[in-house]
């Protein structure tokens, strides 16, 4: 597959997420699940065992009222462009960085379920199927035919709505465009976001919205110092929000460390 797509002019799909616009409604999470046939939660699932390719975290500045501030940060696979942590650890080439799109792909059909890639990912963007996927009776009719559901015991994650990318390519081909050219499409989350906080496009195309806003002064990436060169850019005019992209803060007094408290 890699060898097939090499000769084409590469796209570098990426995202910009305006944290200041996100009100944490969670529409993107649901849209993502609907689009990618991610099953509803098993009753045993928690925020640590769930399947949320896209997860909106509630972050705060750690101060007390009235200085206390909250923001919402949607985190999905950051599609690291360099030293992609998950790609080189997979023992059976089930993960790859597609040079044609810059999308970090996951091949559930080949996944052994060793979860090494999950340990490797600093963004916790990879999820394991702890249970057999199950949809309430009748709901299976609403499954997306363009996306294969995954089985129990394999790892999955955001792939920038590969199904939609594929559809877009077919459309382009049908409309007689030269095959292999980068196509324009919109992942489900960007489409669903009611406040337009999530924007998607080709970072190689200077005209595209992400390419533009990635250059903005207040845009940042998560754990930039790791050198993973992620393709998901965030933006906020609030300094403390930009700080949350840095390494973790040691626990403050009052907040018991080691204990998961109901707060994203």
């Amino acid at each position: 597959m890699i060898s097939e797509t090499k000769q084409f002019p590469a796209a570098k799909y990426g995202m910009t997420i305006d944290v200041d616009r996100c009100n944490g409604c969670g529409a993107c999470m649901v849209a993502c699940a609907v689009e990618n046939n991610v099953p509803p939660a098993h009753e045993g699932a928690t925020d640590r065992k769930g399947l949320t390719w896209l997860r909106v975290y509630k972050v705060d500045n750690g101060l007390e009222y009235p200085d206390h501030r909250t923001a919402f940060v949607p985190v999905m696979c950051q599609h690291c462009n360099h030293d992609t942590p998950c790609v080189h650890v997979c023992p059976q080439q089930a993960v790859d960085l597609d040079p044609a799109t810059g999308v970090v792909g996951e091949m559930p059909q080949r996944c052994l379920g060793c979860r090494y890639c999950m340990a490797a990912c600093p963004y916790h963007a990879r999820y394991f199927n702890w249970w057999d996927p199950a949809w309430p009776q009748g709901m299976e009719k609403t499954l997306n035919p363009d996306v294969t559901p995954r089985m129990r015991g394999v790892v999955e994650k955001c792939n920038f709505c590969h199904g939609r990318w594929h559809a877009a390519k077919q459309l382009a081909a049908a409309s007689g465009e030269p095959s292999g050219q980068p196509v324009e499409y919109t992942p489900a989350c960007a489409e669903a976001c009611p406040t337009g906080a999530i924007r998607f496009g080709d970072l190689n195309n200077p005209a595209s919205e992400p390419a533009q806003s990635a250059k903005k002064a207040d845009s940042f990436r998560l754990l930039e110092k790791l050198g993973t060169e992620t393709k998901v850019y965030y933006h906020s005019e609030r300094e403390w929000v930009r700080q949350t992209a840095q390494a973790p803060r040691p626990p403050q007094a009052g907040k018991p460390a080691g204990k998961e408290i109901a707060r994203g």
Binding site: C25, A45, T46, K49, G50, A71, W135, G138, T142, R263
Partner: protein, 498 residues
């Protein structure tokens, strides 16, 4: 073949036949302003002792023009979290300074320019306090209730006055809000009346006027038909606690039929729950959002076939009143086309075209394709301020009870929403309450543990989440029908460990 639908129909017919002189056949519409609502009004007009109860905003025809205000004081209204048309709100966001007065740091509070942390359920009190400040009295009672000083309240009032035009958004049934807006000159400026999309003349001539629940005398409704099929996006505003409805029912076996897609709601109190289709299965029109100034007409178009055996509430209720209806949406569209006002916006190509230049069939097709009709801008006029709404349940006042903060979550709903409250802790899950860690320690309940929530209205088993964001001494309730039955905002509850 005789299924539950036929049985229900028969039961209704029998009950209607037995209607006493001052007994009513009533329809409760949880989402007024739709074409179906007109059908109900016509049906009730034709039916014997029929009344049409519109749940929700007493100022149903009032719209908020967000382009006007420079300052907005929101009394716990989720302005930035799904209120109105989110896209429009965000578009206007830069234009106004938002002050959110709320007990917890809700999504709106988090994104507001200013967050006033007030005591749970003291929104109305703050409103009254501001009125006092306006009249030059000292808002001592308000300060006491809200937990913010008189000076702050006075300062807040000045802030609103000086940075006008200002607007106060308050609870649906808050008289104080209305008076404040009056005082701030918002009425007719930012709070304007919105005319409804045209309807066929024969409808408007033969339609019962909406009745406010409070104005119905107690024990007078024998047959109550509830359309719960499409709950409004902020149903917490429109959901009427059952205890209020129950008061109006006749004492000797009244008949309640709920047409909805869940047993969780009024279904729990009904003799019959008839299944209805949900959004992607049925065609329905969408009432204009509170922040759209002009009248609109949009339709949700069915994407999949509704399963066997679901009922169309419109048809069932009409039939109950001896009416046969079909194609009402089309009739409405024709009426709009006949009026010839406004433009049609089609999302597919982002074009908007004047209705009068369109053929009626094209108009109808465009609507079915997701097009949206918008009325032309009319000169702004103040809305008719309705009387203060339903009386809330009396709140218990025992000392050790916790003030309730009810937050609406759209539950029960698609299992995929479990992504946001079960598989992440973004939302408080249905049937969950959140407590401050200290509070939880005192009560001896753990995170994820079960407890009972007790109010005057009753007890309900809940799951507890521990959240330092909840102010100490309060309990955050992810409200659902079952919870809302028990507690309106500001009522007090007790969390009892089991």
């Amino acid at each position: 073949m005789r299924g539950p639908v036929q049985e229900a129909a028969a039961a209704v017919a029998a009950a209607v036949a037995r209607l006493g002189a001052n007994e009513h056949l009533a329809v409760l519409d949880l989402r007024p302003g739709r074409t179906a609502s007109w059908t109900y009004r016509r049906a009730m007009a034709s039916a014997k002792n029929g009344i049409y109860i519109a749940a929700g905003h007493p100022m149903a025809d009032a719209a908020i023009d967000l382009s006007k205000p420079k300052t907005i004081l929101s009394l716990a209204v989720p302005v930035l979290a799904g209120w109105g048309t989110p896209g429009n709100v965000i578009a206007q966001r830069a234009g106004f300074h938002l002050i959110q007065a709320e007990a917890v740091e809700s999504r709106t509070a988090a994104m507001a320019d200013q967050w006033l942390r007030i005591q749970p359920g003291s929104e109305e009190a703050l409103g009254k306090g501001l009125l006092q400040a306006l009249n030059g009295q000292s808002p001592s009672a308000a300060a006491e209730a809200t937990g913010i000083s008189e000076q702050q309240i006075a300062a807040l009032w000045n802030q609103l006055k000086q940075n006008g035009p200002a607007l106060v958004l308050g609870p649906a049934d808050s008289p104080a809000t209305a008076q404040l807006n009056q005082a701030l000159g918002a009425l007719g400026q930012t709070v304007v009346a919105r005319s409804e999309a045209p309807v066929p003349l024969k409808w408007s001539n033969t339609a019962a006027a909406p009745v406010d629940l409070a104005s119905i005398e107690d024990r007078s409704i024998r047959v109550l038909l509830i359309d719960e099929s499409t709950p409004a996006e902020s149903a917490s505003g429109t959901y009427l606690p059952w205890s209020l409805l129950e008061r109006k029912l006749v004492p000797d076996n009244p008949l309640v039929v709920t047409l909805g897609w869940t047993r969780e709601g009024y279904g729990r109190h009904s003799q019959f729950v008839l299944p209805t289709g949900v959004y992607p299965e049925v065609a329905d029109d969408i009432p204009p959002a509170v922040d759209s100034v002009a009248a609109t007409f949009r339709m949700s178009v069915p994407l999949v076939h509704a399963p066997e055996g679901v009922v169309k509430p419109e048809e069932f209720i009409a039939r109950a009143a001896g009416m046969e209806v079909a194609g009402t949406l089309r009739e409405r569209a024709e009426a709009i086309h006949r009026a010839g006002r406004g433009t049609l916006f089609t999302y597919a190509d982002g074009q908007s075209s004047a209705v009068k230049d369109m053929k009626v069939d094209d108009f109808w097709k465009a609507l079915q394709a997701g097009g949206s009709w918008m009325d032309e801008a009319a000169p702004a006029r103040p809305p008719a301020v309705a009387a203060a709404g339903q009386t809330a349940i009396p709140a218990s006042v025992s000392a050790n009870d916790l003030p309730l903060v009810a937050m609406f979550v759209d539950a029960p709903s698609s299992p995929l929403l479990s992504k946001i409250y079960q598989e992440s802790n973004l939302h408080l899950g249905p049937g969950r309450v959140a407590l401050n860690p200290d509070e939880a320690r005192v009560l001896g309940v753990e995170d994820g543990g079960r407890a009972e929530l007790e109010t005057l209205a009753g007890r309900i088993s809940v799951e507890v989440s521990i959240d330092p964001a909840v102010p100490s001494g309060a309990v955050l309730v992810a409200s659902r029908a079952a919870v809302l039955d028990m507690c309106s905002a500001g009522s007090r509850a007790k969390v009892v460990r089991v």
